[in-house]
């Protein structure tokens, strides 16, 4: 829910700021004798020089940006924006920590001895992973729906406060296929980080060590460059998303989508499998 709220607030803030910028540009253009209709009859040109980027027909440019930002408050656009924010900011941390906590719970209380005997380690570890996925998928869907409901309300409030009048908004530019594609990618990210979290929990059998390791890894510069798992996901996202809300993906390096998917799948499988295999080592139940 917090993510949905943050995403919606971000969209509204962006829509308001772009609308304000458009109004200022409109006033400045009026002083120069340029009307909005005149600007809309001419194309926008962007040129690059040694001094940087130059935008010609700034009035039309700001007008269209304001319309696009207002259009991003549509339910489908808001959902996609929230999913992108979840995928690359929230889910990695939440899923890994949740996976670690769930996987280590029975070791922490030593109930692993009873559960392993009555249920089998394989079933137990699979249940841990499924529990993480159910919780995170549920939260993900709730956030998505909250965005879908909250964004139009925010858009209405935005219009009521004087926003949008002459600008209006773009027609819904996000098709359902993009929503579903984004949801599928977010689900894949969820599965990946849940598997990594559960695997780390099983490997270390303690919650603190893997949690600290993840925080350190997550805040460090990508040591693996383009092959850093975070960058691999960002690269896949860049090639998957055609719509970007307030969340902008920044990738470093390029890896083919298929290669990235293979590496990420192998990494998740290896971590989870290693955790399960190490659970069979001698004295794994530590007394």
């Amino acid at each position: 829910m917090a993510t949905a709220v943050a995403a919606t607030v971000g969209l509204v803030t962006r829509a308001s700021s772009r609308l304000d910028l458009f109004h200022r540009t409109l006033q400045e253009s009026a002083r120069q004798g340029i009307s909005l209709n005149q600007a809309l009859s001419q194309p926008v040109e962007i040129t690059h020089s040694d001094q940087g980027e130059m935008i010609h027909n700034i009035l039309r440019f700001d007008y269209e940006n304001a319309r696009i930002a207002a259009g991003a408050l549509a339910p489908r656009a808001a959902m996609v924006n929230t999913l992108q924010l979840l995928s690359f900011v929230i889910i990695p941390a939440v899923c890994v920590v949740l996976g670690v906590v769930v996987a280590t719970r029975d070791y922490r209380y030593r109930t692993i001895k009873i559960r392993a005997a009555r249920e089998g380690l394989g079933s137990l570890h699979a249940a841990h992973l499924i529990a993480c996925l159910v919780q995170t998928m549920g939260a993900l869907l709730a956030a998505m729906l909250a965005s879908a409901v909250g964004a139009p309300v925010a858009a209405w409030a935005h219009r009521r406060s004087g926003g949008g009048g002459e600008v209006g908004s773009t027609p819904v530019a996000v098709p359902w296929s993009e929503v579903l594609t984004t949801l599928a990618l977010t689900a894949a990210v969820t599965v990946f980080f849940c598997a990594v979290g559960v695997g780390l929990g099983l490997i270390f059998r303690k919650a603190l060590v893997p949690a600290l390791l993840f925080v350190v890894w997550n805040t460090m510069c990508p040591l693996l460059g383009a092959w850093d798992p975070r960058n691999l996901w960002l690269g896949i996202g860049r090639r998957t998303f055609t719509f970007e809300g307030v969340f902008t993906l920044a990738t470093g390096g390029t890896v083919a989508v298929f290669s990235a998917a293979c590496v990420l799948t192998a990494l998740a499988l290896a971590t989870f499998t290693a955790g399960h295999a190490l659970s069979s080592r001698t004295s794994r139940f530590a007394g």
Binding site: Y109, I114, A116, A117, R118
Partner: protein
């Protein structure tokens, strides 16, 4: 009441016959070997008879807990362990371990722990009856978090779990340690209730306790298991047998 079905589906009183279904619940171990840095179990072979209580005795470090871990599939081993001719994975839900440290989820109530560890919702009346077996226990405890239980109450909860699960194979490692007299009576009553249809394997050092329930004695020494034929299974006899096992191995 004649013909009435007991709450746990058992006939009360000792019976050494096979279960009502006619199924023998034998635990067979063949050439079981396990080593850590040195051998603990060496080609151990034994058959634990069904519907009886077998007491595994041995000095500290003999490998009793290791044996239990192998029986529960908690450790890798070489050899064969079968439950009624079946591997553990086929009878998991018929096996209940009671371990010395009686692990439970501390923040959850006893009743909730039973549900989670048995993988099903336990009938409240059944749980209450099992919990109150032998009397002298606060019935309200079952609804309180386990972290407030004493070690004896945790053992009682473990026994309660065995009763409500209708365990076919009950493995008890040091179940009697730390029990007061009344709790010990309750545990004895529970084992006697279960024994006709359950294969019980127990280990420990409280001979007064085991003398009240044991049918067979097995000695674990030098990594191997061997039956001990005793004319009586009194506490004195068990202690004397134990001393005779340890004496040749003392330094």
């Amino acid at each position: 009441m004649p013909g009435a079905e007991p709450l746990f589906g058992r006939r009360s009183g000792p019976s050494r016959a096979a279960s009502e279904s006619g199924r023998m619940r034998v635990i067979s171990i063949e050439s079981l070997s396990k080593h850590y840095h040195e051998p603990v179990l060496v080609e151990a072979t034994h058959i634990f008879p069904s519907g009886s209580v077998t007491f595994v005795m041995g000095p500290n470090g003999a490998g009793k807990t290791t044996l239990f871990k192998c029986l529960l599939g908690l450790e890798g081993y070489s050899g064969t362990i079968l439950f009624d001719g079946l591997p553990l994975r086929s009878v998991r839900h018929d096996v209940v371990p009671i371990l010395d440290d009686t692990p439970f989820y501390p923040a959850l109530s006893g009743r909730r722990n039973l549900d989670l560890l048995l993988g099903r919702r336990v009938d409240p009346q059944e749980a209450d009856h099992a919990w109150g077996l032998g009397g002298r226990v606060d019935p309200r405890l079952l609804d309180r978090p386990v972290k407030g239980y004493s070690s004896g109450e945790r053992k009682r909860l473990a026994i309660c779990m065995a009763l409500v699960s209708k365990a076919r194979y009950l493995l008890m490692d040091e179940v009697a340690s730390g029990l007061d007299l009344f709790t010990m009576d309750a545990v004895v009553a529970a084992i006697q209730l279960l024994a006709p249809d359950t294969t019980v394997v127990a280990s420990g050092h409280q001979f007064d306790f085991y003398a009240r329930v044991v049918d067979h004695v097995v000695a674990l020494t030098d990594g191997t298991l061997r039956s001990v034929d005793l004319d009586d299974t009194s506490a004195v006899s068990l202690e004397a047998t134990f001393r005779s096992l340890v004496a040749p191995h003392s330094g």
